[in-house]
């Protein structure tokens, strides 16, 4: 899932300082599951903002609400009327959610309260590890399920490079060499042939905005 982390309070305070009625909108999807932007975090942030304002001798109206997913238009229903009562919106969703909220309410300033970090896995409570950079060209099939884009400092498709050193990366002795791990795993599976052939360089499709259309829906969206 998408992993996010809350922005520092100072940054959030800075973005809302010009507004007196603030509506903080949480997301019940990924942001909620990674403990960054669900109902509990909305309540916590609102309390922190209120306390900070009080310490500065200021008063603003700040209310909170959480919708199921800020990346799906279906769940915005009912917000239209409420949003009009506020000067600005704070979004506790990932970058996609913030943009969709801003698109839905183009006359309202929308500010992110989270930094979107990665697509990752849950190691433990509140401990997440990046595992995918959505490069659009998955090579996990021949790298033994270890992503060279995410795990290798150079995101090499044909590794390791000359910087590998006793299983560690040249940029830090703390960082494992992804290609060493790929080699070991494939060797254990007797699949070293998978990395003997040269793979073409990545096209870096994630450098431009992408639109995903599932094959079964291609005809439906063909005209638009």
């Amino acid at each position: 899932m998408v992993k996010s982390k809350r922005k520092p309070l100072n940054e959030i305070m800075g973005s809302i300082q010009a507004y007196s009625r603030i509506f903080n909108i949480g997301c019940g999807g990924c942001a909620s599951v990674c403990l960054a932007g669900g109902q509990r975090e909305v309540n916590a942030l609102n309390s922190e903002i209120t306390a900070e304002l009080k310490s500065q001798g200021l008063h603003k109206q700040i209310d909170g609400y959480t919708i199921e997913r800020q990346c799906n238009n279906q769940f915005f229903q009912g917000l239209d009327e409420i949003v009009q009562k506020y000067d600005c919106l704070l979004s506790m969703a990932c970058g996609a959610g913030v943009q969709f909220l801003a698109e839905r309410f183009p006359t309202k300033p929308v500010f992110p309260a989270l930094n979107t970090i990665s697509i990752g896995i849950d190691r433990d409570i509140g401990l997440y590890e990046e595992r995918c950079r959505a490069c659009g060209e998955c090579v996990l099939g021949y790298t033994g399920g270890i992503c060279p884009v995410t795990r290798c400092a150079k995101s090499l498709f044909n590794g390791p490079c000359g910087g590998t050193n006793k299983g560690k990366c040249e940029i830090s002795s703390e960082i494992p060499c992804a290609w060493q791990e790929i080699y070991v795993r494939l060797k254990d599976q007797n699949r070293l042939n998978d990395i003997r052939k040269i793979r073409p360089v990545m096209l870096w499709q994630n450098q431009v905005q992408r639109m995903t259309v599932q094959e079964s829906y291609r005809q439906r969206y063909a005209q638009s």
């Binding site: 609400y65 409420i82 409570i125």
Partner: protein, 132 residues
């Protein structure tokens, strides 16, 4: 619906806006509840129902009748226990994949999401660090 907010006093309500939001859905929700023919055709479109040995508790119609249906039927006169039970129905038994199908056209996901909104407004929602 004036009493929608009458959950036990110990339960915090976040703001009046959240209850107003529920009131704005009143017509749509009550109509949907009224027209449900209990045909059970929604059941097999739900993967949770299919994966749980067709347990009727996972039927989409069961889920919305026993969540948002109860909220409107009881006009908000609910106890915290009712909401805790509802929490399981609308979060544990439904992932809001929005794939449920109703031949009459009932918007089941919006009913579940409205029930979730109501629960949240009363301070009842899943704690995602509890599952470990």
């Amino acid at each position: 619906m004036e009493n929608l907010n009458n959950v036990e006093q110990t339960i915090a309500v976040q703001s009046q806006d959240t209850c107003q939001l529920l009131n704005t859905f009143k017509d749509k929700m009550t109509l949907s509840l009224k027209v449900c023919a209990h045909c059970t055709l929604c059941a097999e479109s739900c993967f949770m129902f299919m994966k749980n040995n067709k347990d009727p508790h996972y039927m989409p119609s069961y889920k919305f009748i026993n969540s948002i249906g109860v909220i409107y039927k009881k006009k908000g006169n609910l106890k915290r226990n009712d909401l805790e039970k509802m929490k399981d129905i609308v979060w544990k038994h439904c992932v809001l994949c929005t794939r449920c199908y109703c031949p009459i056209g009932i918007d089941i996901p919006s009913m579940i999401s409205t029930a979730r909104s109501y629960c949240r407004a009363q301070g009842v929602y899943p704690e995602f660090d509890e599952i470990y």
